[in-house]
Symmetry: C2
Subunit: 313 residues, 2 copies
């Protein structure tokens, strides 16, 4: 396929638009009918930085890349409205690979109701999948700031599972090992942006962030922006039943993926004591006066592991 044929394939697949989409693929830019405040974020998955092609079919890697971008909409409590897809495609991807990528994006987009309304194709030597996710808030957007001493600290899902699944892929080059190890790889491959949770927290949570760089680092951002401190109870952090067993199987300290592992795409949030958010997440600690994050395991303070960071907006 030449570029025009690829664009035709994209238009055929995504041309349908969605609610509020005035202009989709096929003009100089997309147009969305505005309602509420606009929330906008971009995320890029780069081959051999964020994923390896040997790990999974391109369909699944593209699905994952799209969900990673949408997770930032979730963290703001926004309803997805549309996405721009920006692909840099080396010759090695080919037409079949291109169609796989598009299929994965479509699966993610339809899962969370975020139609692809435009984008960009480019040649290059390094495969990258860039996603601009656009959303709207019904009320005030959830922010990192706003947590207050006395608030509870909560998380959706199991924030360390995906990082441990990634560890399986990094060390073994493919999904392999125990059934639990393979289940964690599956979790890494299939994030679900917590859009419903985010929307349910608008007007209830005092602060929120998505766990993309590691629980402690993201919590550090949240408490730093809020001007407070936090205390986390290690044993309260939800994890796979065999989390420690898989860590042991890999020879890694389970605290590294649990506290410092990225790619979780779960929401970390705070809520006042009189607001019940047990329908959205599990309580893992409290917001306290002061600054910084203390992690406690049966009375013993756990040191903060080193973590990575990529995102600035």
């Amino acid at each position: 396929m030449d570029e025009l044929e690829r664009i035709a394939a994209l238009t055929a697949r995504f041309g349908g638009g969605g609610p509020g989409v005035i202009v989709g693929i096929g003009d100089d830019a997309a147009v969305l009918r505005a309602s509420g405040d606009l929330v906008a974020t971009v995320d890029v998955a780069v081959e051999d930085v964020h994923f390896r092609r040997a790990w999974a079919p391109l369909e699944r890697l593209a699905y994952r890349a799209f969900m990673a971008a949408a997770s930032d909409l979730a963290a703001m409590g926004a309803e997805p409205r549309g996405a721009l897809l920006s692909l840099v495609l080396p010759a090695s991807v080919g037409d079949d690979g291109f169609l796989e990528l598009v299929a994965g994006v479509e699966r993610a987009a339809s899962t969370i109701g975020c139609p692809v309304i435009g984008g960009n194709l480019s040649a290059g030597t390094e495969l990258s999948i860039g996603t601009t996710a656009l959303g709207a808030t019904a009320g005030e957007a959830l922010r990192r700031r706003g947590a207050r001493p006395g608030d509870g600290l909560f998380v959706t899902g199991r924030p360390g599972d995906r990082a441990l699944g990634l560890e399986v892929l990094l060390r073994r080059g493919a999904p392999s090992g125990s059934a639990a190890a393979r289940a964690l790889v599956e979790a890494w491959l299939e994030p679900l942006a917590r859009v419903d949770a985010g929307r349910a927290l608008v007007g209830r949570a005092t602060a929120a962030i998505d766990v993309s760089d590691g629980l402690l680092m993201d919590l550090d951002h949240l408490v730093g922006a809020s001007g407070v401190g936090a205390r986390v109870e290690l044993g309260a952090i939800p994890r796979h039943d065999d989390f420690e067993a898989v860590a042991s199987e890999l020879g890694v300290d389970p605290l590294a993926p649990l506290l410092g592992g990225g790619d979780a795409y779960e929401l970390l949030f705070t809520a006042p004591p009189d607001v019940d958010v047990s329908d959205v997440g599990a309580r893992i600690g409290s917001i306290v006066a002061g600054s910084g994050v203390e992690v406690v395991d049966r009375g013993v303070t756990v040191r903060r592991p080193a973590t990575g960071h990529r995102h600035f907006g």
Copy 2:
């Protein structure tokens, strides 16, 4: 600088926000107060595909990349509201290179009043500069469709100059040659997204597109979307006084950059006979019934050159 220091540098430079920016850099996503319809587009400049580092300082290459994205806002008649910057940075760029890139983005952003409100940093092996440009329309967005037989066909600026300047760089590897050749390279390096022209055309033009893939190919998109044909008078297309001389200096057919050259970032638009748009662009032809584009040079039809195409939204 590590990632956090780079993000701090971006926040220091772009943290000021702008009108309607509720949340800028520093949260999970940016938030814009909506007014009018939202216009969204993304463009990516990839090293050795769209530019070479030897051609100019990174400051200028980044400026250019930003303007290329903003040109699609101009083509829709939108007022810029904010941009997301997505950089994939190989180690060879370094801290100085990073700061140069940021300075070029800032110069472009402040030139057209489009604050950087968020973005993404990633490592990689191939430098790419991705820009998501967000804008709002005061009235109905300009579209590619809407041209009617009898409309005049117009263009801003000199749509082939930048393509010929690029030809100088491609053939010589640096700005060199006659003063005119160097002036055309300068034009390629310094596009100005035609935001003011686009806004001035809302409610006056019947259709518009930006010339990014070549005058004929973009006109073909416009007439295809409008269900009409067009007739272009070759001699009416504005060009540098020494356009033919520089083409001759390079040994290229001047029709190739004039009709088929990309990177123009000028607006091609149509307007009814009773609407005066002479303040915005020069008339280069007419819209006719039928389909396709005929280019006439003193009564002789000129064949369409082959052109490239990259953009799908």
